[in-house]
């Protein structure tokens, strides 16, 4: 399974902070990965065009870039940052 973490507004929109997804195809483009999350949580579309993902703690924009996911890998939904 892949562990998906939701932060800030994305956690409010989904109502969860973490979930396990068992059937993620791999390799997968980050755009398809985002679509898959949108199917599970349609309200995430409020973040469309603002969000990036982090795969194994590396930022990746929503694009054709392909990621390979291993068992237990961590994917985070990263709304616009506002630290400081």
């Amino acid at each position: 399974p892949v562990f998906v973490l939701y932060f800030a507004k994305s956690a409010e929109l989904t109502g969860v902070r973490e979930e396990e997804i068992v059937d993620v195809p791999t390799p997968i483009s980050s755009r398809d990965l985002w679509r898959l999350l949108l199917q599970r949580h349609p309200r995430l579309s409020a973040l469309q065009d603002q969000v990036v993902l982090a795969v194994r703690q590396h930022y990746i924009s929503i694009s054709e870039q392909v990621v390979t996911l291993g068992d237990g890998d961590e994917v985070a939904v990263v709304p616009p940052l506002s630290g400081g």
Partner: protein
Amino acid sequence: MSEEQRDVFELSHDRLSVQDVVDAVSSSSCGAISVFIGTTREDEVGGRMVVGLEYEAYEPMVQSEFTKLCADVRGRWPSVAHICVHHRLGSVSVGEASVAMAISSPHRHDGQRAIQHCITQLKANIPIWKKEVYDTQETSWKENSE
């Protein structure tokens, strides 16, 4: 400089102490400590008063991004000795510090440039989020504009 370089990023639910971040970077080989403190401003947004902020972080990735940030700072200003950042999590009231950072360097110019770069990069890259909490109980997630 025989001393080892220290890079410290701490997330804390408690009030920040400026003295703690300054002490964390002090070094007898350095003549300068540059410090930046970000505080919650009193603000009005659409007729509502901001009473505080709420912070959350992707904690393990904060550490990995901070490691990259420090490598970047040290690449640009090799004389930088120590870097320490304390950042709040959870509720921060108006007037309180949300971030305190200190950088020590033998001479002041490098440290002053490094601290500006450090806060800019923190805001751009470190996975931390805040929402404003209003007197109406409403909240709104913020976005760093730079």
